[in-house]
């Protein structure tokens, strides 16, 4: 349906009003004219009736002169009647009121008075009636013509026309103007305001007089307010982290991108601080997530209060935060912020009567030096942060290229390790343990080697610590256990059947709940007394009680235990007291300087302790005969080192065993 504007609608309504108003005014005028006409007719009829009665009674043949005064008086006292003519039965004029100009009405047709009702008095000029006279009983008729005062009647009609026309036009014009202004002011303008409000939703229109429009305005206002609130909430949801109220990752990336664009134009630099809470996982595990959330909220507040207004603080997730410091000219400004953060965090927080010290590790990158896009900057600051964690936590570290190289190396080794385990690139090499008296190989230590088909041999010191960092040591350790046990089983039917095999177990492997079952399964078909677990003192330094429990279970499985790198730790003797070791391995550092009398004393002392505790003792890292001679003089039982052989693949080790004796 084609729609029309309110203005057009109003014009149509006004035209309809004009039509009906015009009709009403016409009717009103016509009625008024009719009333006037009726009154005039009545007047004329009454006058004529009286006159007719008078004439009927008084008019005789030839007595008209006696009636002149009466007739003149009738005309002069009545403003409607202009003139009276009385004509005899021969149409001879007997009487005329206007006797000076009686021919004035010549040619005017007179309408019988009986037809006055159906005539238009304003158009009629003359009415007539007959007067009956009698000659004895014989009647004859005179005619009386009554001429109307046209000027008077016209003035009546003219006055009415002017009056009603003026009344109608003025009233209608005023009404239309009022209607137009009213509709414009009360409907059209408010509707236009509502339209603009609905379209732009900016300026809220003022209250309207019309109830329905006001209701729409109120509803629109309410809806827009609600929409804005919801929009704000949605914006916050999409840009802010709900827990901390800080910017989320998406928003951070957007802001950093904007900052990069800005910095490119102005050659400015900015700093990105990657912040990770230290030991936060322990908090969540020990105090619950609710407590952890409170800590995160506290840290968020600390960070917000520690930075400038235009700095950006964001929570990436978990306990990771990022702070962006725009327009940084030197490192002092960064250090100032870090100082403030650490100082604020240094104040212990108390939640649920539990006091907690929050510390964090921070990695710092500078745009554009340390990265030219968001990903690179975040990655490098993360690297720097991990470096600060490595440095003992509650620390900060600037990203450097060397650090980057380390990380790249680490990533590369991680990737190689994963594929190596899948593709069988890990090999267990065996370094002989030689009886110092008989010079015969009596055992060996299984040492892991990674032989990448592309890179070649990767020494353990390049990957073991990485494997320990990311817990890859657990599956790798399982493989070592299984491979060692399998090799022992293989050797059972060979001349090597009496050899003992030791493997190293990392401290990380103690976290593996499957460690015991893996061991149990691996040694189920071999002589358990030939399988030895080597533990370094560093393994025992943390969580000793828990580990002792597991170590006891090793023993319960029938395994042998060896204390590796003995003498390098601080509590070596206490371990010997608490753990039922079978073997002591003297650290290579003592052997290297064996010519030194002080070291000779240490080695001698260790051998003596082992003898006293009835433990086997193995000297590590023996590389020359001189060292062997010393050891022999100290009655050390076994040695291990390049003097006999480097660690060898199984087949070479077997050949070594079969083909020759070690010195």
């Amino acid at each position: 349906m084609k729609n029309i504007s309110i203005k057009l609608f109003t014009i149509i309504v006004m035209l309809m009003l004009l039509t009906s108003g015009g009709y009403l005014f016409y009717k009103f005028y016509a009625d008024s004219k009719n009333v006037t006409e009726s009154l005039l007719e009545e007047n004329i009829q009454v006058n004529l009736l009286n006159m007719k009665y008078f004439l009927d009674k008084n008019l005789k043949e030839n007595n008209i002169d006696q009636l002149v005064a009466y007739l003149d008086n009738r005309v002069h006292s009545n403003s409607i009647i202009d003139d009276i003519h009385i004509l005899d039965n021969n149409k001879k004029l007997l009487y005329a009121t206007d006797r000076d100009d009686y021919a004035l009405h010549k040619g005017i047709q007179c309408l019988p008075i009986s037809k006055i009702i159906n005539s238009d008095i304003f158009q009629q000029e003359c009415y007539s009636f007959s007067v009956k006279l009698f000659d004895d009983l014989t009647p004859y008729y005179y005619q009386t013509n009554i001429y109307l005062n046209r000027a008077y009647l016209d003035s009546l009609l003219k006055d009415k026309i002017i009056k009603y026309l003026t009344l109608f036009i003025v009233n209608f014009f005023i009404l239309m103007v009022i209607l137009w202004i009213t509709i414009n002011k009360l409907i059209v303008n408010p509707l236009e305001q509502l339209r603009q409000f609905a379209y732009y939703s900016t300026k809220v229109p003022k209250q309207f007089l019309i109830q329905e429009l006001e209701s729409i305005r109120y509803s629109l206002d309410l809806t827009f307010k609600r929409l804005k609130e919801e929009q704000k909430e949605l914006f916050n949801l999409s840009t802010k982290d709900p827990l901390s109220g800080l910017y989320n990752r998406l928003s951070l990336v957007e802001k950093i991108n904007w900052l990069i664009s800005k910095s490119k134009r102005s050659d400015a630099q900015f700093a990105l601080l990657f912040l990770d809470l230290d030991n936060f996982k322990n908090i969540n595990d020990s105090r619950g997530h609710e407590f952890g959330d409170k800590v995160l909220q506290h840290v968020s507040q600390v960070l917000i209060s520690s930075v400038r207004d235009n700095d950006i603080v964001s929570r990436l997730g978990g306990d990771e935060f990022v702070i962006v410091l725009p327009d940084i000219e030197d490192n002092d400004a960064i250090l100032e912020v870090i100082h403030r953060i650490r100082e604020a965090l240094n104040i212990p927080v108390v939640f649920d009567n539990y006091k907690y010290h929050v510390t964090c590790s921070i990695g710092i990158t500078i745009y554009p030096k340390d990265g030219r896009d968001v990903t690179e900057l975040l990655k490098n600051s993360d690297i720097a942060m991990y470096k600060s964690k490595d440095l003992g936590k509650n620390n900060f570290h600037f990203f450097t290229e060397r650090l980057n190289d380390e990380i790249q190396e680490k990533i590369k080794i991680q990737r190689v390790m994963v594929s190596a385990l899948e593709e069988g690139n890990f090999k267990l090499f065996y370094q002989p343990k030689v009886d110092i008296v008989s010079n015969k190989i009596v055992g060996c230590e299984g040492l892991i080697r990674l032989i990448d088909p592309i890179v070649g041999l990767i020494p353990p010191d390049r990957f073991i610590h990485i494997a320990e960092e990311n817990n890859f040591i657990i599956p790798l350790g399982e493989w070592i256990i299984e491979e060692g046990a399998r090799q022992l089983k293989t050797w059972e039917s060979t001349p090597l059947k009496d050899l003992k095999l030791s493997i190293n177990v990392s401290g990380v492997q103690f976290k593996d709940s499957n460690l015991l079952s893996t061991l149990e399964n691996a040694i189920s078909t071999i002589d358990k007394n030939k399988f030895e677990i080597e533990l370094t003192e560093s393994v025992l330094m943390t969580d000793f009680d828990e580990k002792l429990e597991i170590i006891d279970k090793f023993k319960a499985l029938g395994l042998r235990l060896s204390l590796d790198d003995f003498g390098t730790g601080y509590s070596s003797l206490s371990y010997l007291k608490k753990i039922p070791f079978d073997t002591l391995k003297i650290d290579k550092s003592f052997i290297d300087d064996l010519e030194n009398t002080k070291d000779q004393s240490f080695v001698n002392m260790i051998v003596t302790i082992a003898d006293e505790l009835n433990l086997e003792v193995v000297a590590e890292g023996v590389e020359n005969k001189k060292q062997l001679k010393y050891l022999k003089s100290m009655k050390c039982e076994q040695y291990q080192g390049y003097l006999c052989s480097r660690p060898l693949p199984a087949n070479e080790f077997e050949s070594l065993f079969l083909e020759r004796e070690c010195p």
């Binding site: 009927d56 019988p112 009986s114 007959s130 009956k132 009698f134 004895d136 008729y141």
Partner: protein
Amino acid sequence: MKQILFIALFFTLLFTSCSQENKKELHISTNSWIGYAPLFYAKEKGYLDKLNIELITNISLAEAANIYDIGKAEIVTTTQHEYYSLKNSGHDIIPVILLDRSNGGDMVLSNKNINTLIHAKKIYAYLEIDSINAEILQDFLKRYNISEKKMVFINKDQSQIESLQPQDDKNMLVVTYVPYNIKLKKSGFKELASTKKMSTIMVIDALCTNESTLKNNKERLHQLKAVIDRSIQELQADKRASYNLVKRYLENMSYGDYIDSLELIKWINKPSQKLLKRIEPMGYEAKQLIQ
């Protein structure tokens, strides 16, 4: 939108067209004649009001005719005298409803007997010259061969005539009709002739109107005829009741006079063919009469 505009236009037209005039009031100009009692009865019973017809009562038929003459009434009660007078003065008057004929209702009274009058040299005749009185008197003079030359005609209204007293030194003829005759008779005037015995004249009372009214109100005039018929029937059926209703139109005559007066007329609202044939030469054409 179009529908709304059409509806608005429709109501505007409806509103404007609703203001048509109601059926225009008709007026019957009449006087106090017993023969017009059905009209008075219909008025009192409200039958005329339903037809929007109003009665204008006058002292005489001449006045009633004057009222019609000047256009204050569209219908008038006439005898043939008023009918002819109006017609002769230029009116397109037509008799449409027959009411009654005088059957003794019009009469000639005198203070002398007929022989005295025949031989009298001078006779004073009191009458409404411009009425049926004139025709009745002429018929009376013709019947008794009394010359008009010895007549002195004195034109008076019946209300004036009613007060006449017989004068022994004058030969007086009074032409009157019911109910004015009652007082005159009481004053000593004797009836010499009446329409009951006058076979040469027939006084017809009828309702006349003009062509325009007849044309525009044909249906209403037929309804009026039906009302008159009904009124005559009811009037005859319960004379006491009808008397109580119409007496004030008849100068408060007594019930006895009312009954007597009714005897002096004959209703011709349902005329015989014979009557119609007789009155046709008088200008009462059967085809124009509503029957």
